[in-house]
């Protein structure tokens, strides 16, 4: 019973960490002379207040989930992928290109091809740092950050140049955006809300990634390399190959996230010249969601919804109590810090449990010993 309560407590740690972050947020709100109750009520209302609000939350959660399940793969393989932003961008670029050019095909086929192009684009952008890490020992944190910066410039170049909306090219405004996708090439929506098929795709992939990681040899090897690369090498696993694969798959899902943003939300690729102008920082927030979900693809689903809710609710909060939604970015940061810090509590408890178990092993109760003797005798006798 006590053990069950203990593991429940472990599972609740991220929730406690979030509440702690919200409490700090409340103090910050007080400093800003805003009533925290009123602010958080507006946040809740904005995220869950109506079916439309909830649909918006799910729309925001979709890219977080897709990036997040990718993060589950890479972090499980002990590869830190901070390149979600760039991978989303490149995935979206390739997908948009397909969607705008393969217009002779049936709608469903072009959409499928576009999603695959998004997957591929992200895979390339994640695979490059993977290769650099595995074969040139370039730290992946650095290379993925650099790849983000390169992707942003590539996006700006393409959206202002070769891929610019013909209408924008004629006008003086020159907003960096592509032409709009034709209606048959868009992901279907659940009218009247903006909830699109991408959300379902994301959930399906979350389940598939769970199966991949825990029910296939490939996933087992990625996790083995993550836990102990040396032992894995002795066991005959080609460690470098699985490092590359972990980053490549991680990038692929981010790329798919980028593609769903174009085909499900905006129907065109558009930016303000910065990376978050297109991604809405989902490449970073997806990491937060995955960590919050304990790097478990299924648990990342509710985690993504939570952070989607925070993002959507933040807008409402900004309108109602005039608190900039940047507050939520700061709180997200605190959630990350609190969640990783609370790990020590879980580890200490685990160690204590193990210590107790070990002590029990060393001095088995007399009854057990007597039983063992009987078994031994029986074995000898037979």
């Amino acid at each position: 019973m006590q053990q069950k309560l203990g593991s429940l407590f472990d599972a609740l740690l991220p929730v406690i960490a979030t509440l702690a972050a919200l409490a700090v947020g409340a103090v910050m709100l007080l400093f800003l002379k805003v009533n925290p109750v009123e602010a958080y009520a507006a946040l809740w209302d904005g995220a869950f207040g109506s079916s439309n609000a909830f649909a918006e939350t799910l729309v925001k959660a979709t890219p977080l989930l897709l990036v997040g399940i990718g993060i589950c793969i890479s972090f499980r393989g002990d590869v830190i992928n901070i390149g979600g932003e760039g991978q989303m961008i490149i995935g979206a670029v390739l997908a948009t290109w397909v969607g705008l050019n393969f217009t002779g095909l049936p709608g469903w086929l072009t959409i499928t091809l576009s999603m695959m192009a998004g997957f591929l684009g992200g895979a390339i952008w994640g695979g490059i740092p993977g290769v650099l890490k595995a074969y040139f020992s370039v730290n992946e944190i650095l290379s993925t950050v650099m790849m983000n910066a390169i992707a942003v410039q590539l996006m700006n170049f393409l959206l202002r140049g070769p891929m610019i909306d013909p209408a924008q090219a004629e006008m003086a405004s020159q907003i960096p955006q592509t032409a709009r996708l034709e209606e048959i090439f868009r992901l279907p929506r659940l009218a009247p809300t903006r909830l699109h098929l991408g959300a379902l795709i994301a959930v399906i992939f979350a389940v598939l990634v769970y199966i991949l990681l825990w029910r296939t040899t490939l996933g087992y090897r990625i996790r083995a390399v993550g836990q102990n690369p040396h032992a894995s090498r002795y066991a005959g696993i080609k460690v470098q190959r699985y490092m590359v694969l972990a980053l490549l798959l991680s990038g692929a899902f981010a790329g798919l996230a980028g593609a769903t943003q174009v085909f499900g939300v905006n129907y065109r690729m558009i930016t303000d010249g910065s990376s978050s102008g297109f991604t809405g920082s989902a490449g970073f927030n997806g990491i937060v969601a995955a960590l919050f979900g304990g790097l478990h693809p299924i648990l990342t689903i509710p985690a993504s919804i939570l952070f989607g809710a925070l993002l959507v609710g933040a807008n409402k909060m900004q309108r109602v109590v005039q608190v900039p939604s940047a507050l939520i970015t700061a709180l997200n940061g605190l959630v990350v810090v609190f969640v990783v810090s609370s790990e020590i509590i879980r580890k200490r408890r685990q160690r204590r449990r193990e210590a107790v178990a070990k002590r029990d092993d060393e001095t088995p109760p007399p009854a057990v010993e007597a039983g063992n003797k009987k078994i031994q005798q029986a074995e000898v006798g037979s």
Binding site: L32, I141, L142, M146, N148, L334, V335
Partner: protein, 310 residues
């Protein structure tokens, strides 16, 4: 035209602004070098810089005192460092991930304060260029080396100081031993946590100055997310420079010179798309990382929390 780049005036301009642009990288990367030498990877540099940049700018704007602004940025950076130190040293939190947390915190917090306290983009009169009689008048050289603001000189002075502290003092020896073999250092009576607290807080302070060097010396404005990845580059430069202050200097100079070159390419409206030009420093950095990093080994205890064995 491309040939326009190779006139004396333009070359002097490229070198002068290259040196100026390297200041924030130098401050942040030297600070990060101390942290990593002691075994702590601080990925929150960007967040520390943003908060430092805002603090410096806001104080300078409201009081008109640039030095007070700089000092506030140092305090803010140090406090961020203190929090980072507590989380990574005492709570053994994963360094890379908690760094991202601090980055997001600094990103959101600086934006929030900016919107609440200022609302619109304003400018300050930042640290002026220093005129050194005689030296500043030397043709070319004077413009490149002797007409910079005070923070540029401090940043360059920091390189030999950091080298000296790390390699020639007992403190440096302790820092390096804690980063290479914390168990051995501990058994010799060196306090691993105290050293790491020191290096992380020092790193935070320098990141704060790095932010200030942007907002009250280089650009003289504050905007949301004004560092746009600069802090992450600074972390990369530490790897690039193989954990040596002089290597960091080389990396910072290379990076900023290419950056300065691409700015001039745009100024002279040479027909290279500006977006592609902006991309170049990053591409070059990756290529140099590929060429160099594999030969140098990181501090052995980097990213590993220390715990006394039983």
């Amino acid at each position: 035209m491309i040939s326009d780049l190779f006139t004396v005036t333009v070359l002097i301009g490229i070198l002068a602004s290259g040196i100026r642009l390297s200041t924030p990288y130098l401050f942040a990367a030297i600070g990060e070098t101390f942290g990593q030498k002691s075994g702590v990877l601080n990925l929150g540099v960007e967040g520390q810089m943003l908060l430092g940049a805002f603090a410096a700018f806001y104080v300078a704007l409201t009081t008109g005192n640039l030095w007070l602004g700089l000092f506030t940025a140092m305090i803010v950076g140090a406090l961020m460092g203190l929090a980072m130190a507590y989380v990574t040293v005492n709570l053994h939190a994963e360094q890379g991930i908690s760094g991202i947390g601090f980055y997001l915190f600094g990103l959101g917090m600086s934006d929030l304060l900016f919107q609440k306290l200022m609302g619109t983009v304003e400018t300050v009169k930042g640290f002026p260029e220093i005129y050194i009689p005689g030296l500043s008048d030397i043709p070319g050289i004077g413009k490149i080396f002797f007409s910079q603001n005070i923070l540029v000189y401090i940043a360059y002075l920091l390189v030999p100081i950091a080298w000296f502290v790390l390699n020639k003092t007992t403190l440096g020896l302790k820092i390096r031993s804690v980063g290479e073999n914390p168990d051995a250092a501990d058994s010799l009576g060196v306090s691993v946590s105290r050293i790491r607290y020191f290096t992380i807080i020092l790193g935070g302070t320098l990141s704060g100055i790095a932010g200030a060097s942007l907002s009250i010396a280089l650009l003289n404005v504050f905007q949301q997310n004004m560092t746009s990845g600069l802090g992450f580059i600074a972390v990369a430069l530490v790897y690039f420079g193989a954990w040596r202050p002089i290597g960091v200097l080389g990396g910072a100079l290379l990076f900023s010179l290419i950056n300065s070159l691409q700015l001039w390419v745009q100024v002279l409206s040479i027909p290279i798309p500006s977006d592609i030009a902006v991309m170049m420093p990053y591409v070059v950095t990756i290529l140099v990382l590929v060429a160099t990093v594999s030969k140098v080994r990181a501090p052995s205890a980097l990213t590993k929390p220390f715990e006394r064995g039983d």
